[in-house]
C-alpha cells in the first residue's frame, strides 16, 4: 500500500467481501431504523440512502457499495453518529469505506481520492499545507476528465492571492524542514504489514 495520489494507478475492480469485515463488526447492531438517513444533510444527493448502504455492508455487497457514491458524499458532520439509537460509529464507518476506495485506486471516486491524495502528499513533503501547490496538483490530475474545473474557482483564487491569503507557489518544490516523509513511511509500512 502506498499513499501517493491515486492518479498513478487506477482500477475499476471492487474489493472482496471479506475486506468489509472490520466495518461489519462496527455496525453489526444496526436495526435499519433509518435515523441516519433522516439526519444526513447530503442524503438528497446520494444514490443509496445511508440506511441502505449499511444494509449492503452487512450483506457483503461490495459491488453495490463500490458502484455507489454515497460514502464519498459524507461530509463528516457526525449527525448520524450522534443520533444513532444503537450508538454506532457511522461516520467512522464512512471513513473506512473512503479508505478502501482510496487504497483500491477506484477510478469512479477520483474527484475525492485525488483531492485527499494530493493534500496528503503536500503535507508529507512540507509538514503543513501549501494551498496553491496542493490545488495546482489536484487540477492537473483532474485535467484529462475535467479540464474546466479550475474555472469554477479562478475568481476565488484571484481574490485570495490579492488579499495575500494564498501565495504563488511552485508546485514541485523540494520537501522542507518540516517534512513528514519518515512519519508517512513508517505508517505505510505498519499498515501494509497489519
Amino acid at each position: 500500500m502506498t499513499l501517493s495520489p491515486p492518479s498513478r494507478r487506477e482500477s475499476g475492480a471492487h474489493p472482496a467481501p471479506e475486506a468489509l469485515e472490520p466495518i461489519q463488526e462496527k455496525i453489526r447492531a444496526c436495526i435499519q431504523c433509518g435515523t441516519c438517513t433522516a439526519s444526513c444533510p447530503n442524503e438528497f444527493a446520494m444514490d443509496l440512502t445511508p440506511r441502505h448502504l449499511w444494509r449492503m455492508v452487512l450483506m457483503g455487497e461490495t459491488e453495490a457499495i463500490f458502484a455507489s457514491q454515497t460514502f464519498t458524499l459524507c461530509s463528516a458532520c457526525y449527525s448520524c453518529t450522534l443520533r444513532c439509537p444503537r450508538g454506532l460509529p457511522l461516520t467512522e464507518a464512512m471513513h473506512d469505506l473512503k479508505q478502501m476506495a482510496y487504497r483500491g485506486r477506484m477510478a469512479r471516486y477520483k474527484p475525492s481520492t485525488a483531492f485527499y491524495g494530493h493534500f496528503m502528499d503536500t503535507i508529507r513533503r512540507h509538514g503543513r499545507i501549501r494551498e496553491t501547490e496542493f490545488i495546482s496538483r489536484y487540477f492537473m490530475t483532474m485535467a484529462p476528465s475535467k479540464p474546466l474545473l479550475p474555472l469554477g474557482y479562478s475568481g476565488l483564487g484571484w481574490r485570495l492571492l490579492r488579499k495575500g491569503k494564498m501565495a504563488i507557489e511552485y508546485p514541485f518544490a523540494a520537501p522542507g524542514k518540516r517534512s513528514l516523509e519518515k512519519v508517512f513511511q513508517k505508517a505505510e509500512s505498519m499498515e501494509a504489514s497489519e
Binding site: 471513513h95 482510496y102 496528503m120 503535507i123 475568481g155 491569503k165 501565495a167 512519519v183 499498515e191
Partner: protein, 293 residues
Amino acid sequence: MSYLYYPGCSLTGTAREYDLATRAVMDAMGVPLTELEEWTCCGASAAEACSELLALALPAINLAIAEKMDGKQDVLVPCSACYLNLKKANETLRQDGKTRERVNSVLAEKELTLKGSVGVRHLLDVLATDLGAETVRRKVKVDLSHLTIAPYYGCQCLRPYAVFDDPEEPRSMEPLIRATGARVHPWQMGAKCCGASHMNTKMEVALELVHAILQAARGADAIVTVCPMCQMNLEAYQDKINRRYGDVSSVTILYLPQLIGMAFGISDEDLGLGLNLAIDDRFLSKHKTAVPA
C-alpha cells in the same frame, strides 16, 4: 489562565484574520497564548479518508509536542477540524493502549511520545466556559447594539464530542454576542453542515447546503463562525449562489473573535477585517460609535 496554541494550517493562510483576531482578543483579556513549537498539519479531513493510522498519528505529533513543552496547559484550537482531529486522537489514545503503542511507534520517527496528559479545547469553549460573557462585557468599548448577529457553529466543534454545548441546538455563542451589545438572530441553522470539502469535490451539493444557511440568515447583519472551512464556504460563494438561486443577498461573514474584538475597540487592522471576503462597510471602524461612559 494561559494556553498552548495550535493555529493549524488555515490560520497561517486563508484564515489569517482568524489567527489575528484570536490573538488580539485573548491579549485584550490578558490571556497568554504560547504557540506550539514546529507544529505540523493535523491531517484535516484528508487523513481520515486515506489512512486510519495517519489520521491518529498526525494530530498526535502535535499533542506530543504540547506535552513536551508543558504537560499542564490545555491546547487551544480555533479551527473546528483541527480541534476534532486533536480531540479524537487524544481521547482514542488515552483509552486504547494498543492503538497508543502503534501511534507511538510512528511518533518515534520524530523522537516524540504521547502520554495523553494535555487537554484539547476549542476556542469557543474557552471563550464561553473559561472566560465567559461577563469578562467580555467588561472590556466592551464600542456600541454594537445596532447589529443582529446569526451564530453559526457548524459541525465539528460539537459533534461527535459535545463537550461544552448542545450538539444539535447550541447556544454557547449567544451570551458572548449579547455581551458585545449586539442582538442574536433567531434561526435553526446554527448547527447545520456547510458541506465542508464538498465545495471542492462536489460543488453543487455544498452550494445547496450553504444556500439554505444564507437564506435563513436573512434579516441578520452578519453571520459569525468559529471554523475556517465554514467561514470560507459561507463567504466565498455568495455571488455564485445568488446567480444560481436568485433569492439570497450578500451577507457579512465574520469570525466570532472579530466581532468581539470590534466591540473591544481593537483596530480593523489588528482584527484582519480587510482580509474577509464578505464584509459590509458598516463593519469597518469609521462607521462605529463609542459607548457613552
